[in-house]
Symmetry: C2
Subunit: 265 residues, 2 copies
Amino acid sequence: MGQGQPAAAPEPKYWHLRTVLLRTIEAEFSTGQVIPNERELSARFGVARATLRQALDQLELEGRLVRRRGIGTLIAAPRVGIPVGSPVGGPAENGPGSAGGSTWRTVDCVSAPASAQLALALGIPAGETVHTVRRLRVVQGRTMAAESLHVPESAVPHLPAVPRVVGGTAEQDRAKSVLRQLERLGVDGESRSVELGVAEAEEAALLERPPGTPVLVVTIQYAVAGRLVALALSTYRADTCKLTFGEMGKVEVTPVQAGAIRTAS
Amino acid sequence: MGQGQPAAAPEPKYWHLRTVLLRTIEAEFSTGQVIPNERELSARFGVARATLRQALDQLELEGRLVRRRGIGTLIAAPRVGIPVGSPVGGPAENGPGSAGGSTWRTVDCVSAPASAQLALALGIPAGETVHTVRRLRVVQGRTMAAESLHVPESAVPHLPAVPRVVGGTAEQDRAKSVLRQLERLGVDGESRSVELGVAEAEEAALLERPPGTPVLVVTIQYAVAGRLVALALSTYRADTCKLTFGEMGKVEVTPVQAGAIRTAS
DNA sequence: TAGTGGTCTAGACCACTCT
DNA sequence: GAGTGGTCTAGACCACTAG
């Protein structure tokens, strides 16, 4: 009966909506402003609320929107460039154009036998004691990442053997000791990787986000003379972070707005 | 009337489901196997199909599952480690433990005036001609990334002035010329960044994925003597890629399974 | 043709924030 | 209490793949 065009893979409604919304918010809204609520938008576009939400989900994943329960949906600020650098413990590693005021805040410091997985990754016998420092990376007053730094006992033999410090300033001191010892080793190589993940319950809480929040999982292997001495597992908030791996001091030109260029083509 | 506990922020059903499913598939399934279909799973767990799908969405985002229309839901293979390295044009940049057989396949090569956004990012006057090479990164026979390499005309003045080559081997040659000229410049610095994004229509097609697919957007600024000479915008499939930024030749120990360690804690 | 995942709907209720 | 986003349901239909 004359089907007209060959279908041409009809674009899903939610995807079309996302595009329309993106154009709208770029043209008519600015950072921090709240857009109309979901029920109104879904009515305005003549779709079910679930469909509208699918479109908003996309834009949130792209870091263009932030949704706050009880408040509304806001235009997100551009992502913050965060250097993922060599210094193991250094508090501030500022690069021009990048985030200033980056600090680490220690959460935890425990020494415990390595799990099978962890031992494998560290290249040590299973069950060997590993010092684990958990800390948060705070940039411009906002918690951007949670990190677990694993250091096998054998790599930092000069650490005073404290049985089991937990809580208070004692734990903070313990964490500092581990970091200091690690720095003294003179790390001369590292291998970094980035992949997509989601924050689980505890991690999510540290990042002040709900479980399931997308994160960029950064794995850093620190080595001394070709021998692995530490493993850092960091999860960065994917909504607000742009990780930078600059060879500092060489180039550090204008921060590029990738989204704008990719879309503009 | 005695409310019992202080609520304790009840875990959403879909999140609990995700955890249960994750444990199940880790224990009882292996890479490539298909798990029961959505209708059966939703019945088995006593939830609506939409709720089950929310759980599967999470696991897919984590790279644990792959869903294929008309086929079923499969256990995904572990992510492939892909070096994001310095060589501008080099075909294979293999690191031990990382992906071998990495090649680039040229798609496009056009010379056109820079858009405002692109000019800004390249630090050139708007409207200056820019050579853009689009190519795909193929690893182990699978398309993993799409890249747009932008080189301002002024950076590679020795390029033969071809008016507008499109299609066929001529375009391929043109692309090679641009890459060769760029290599001859002797790039001595670069700045890289990674952030989360989604693939739009055309890009998604190149990556053989539906629109909205999560990608890792890699931005590389190439410099010669402190001057920006090229800008590469690459989008890597977030489901299958783990990007590695190793200082090659120093360490390259066992590839770490971040997920396993993060979950095992 | 049967079975799969993908999209969409209309409606309900909950958890949270602000006033 | 009013308004917001977050979760969940039950059902429908579509697009794709396979035998």
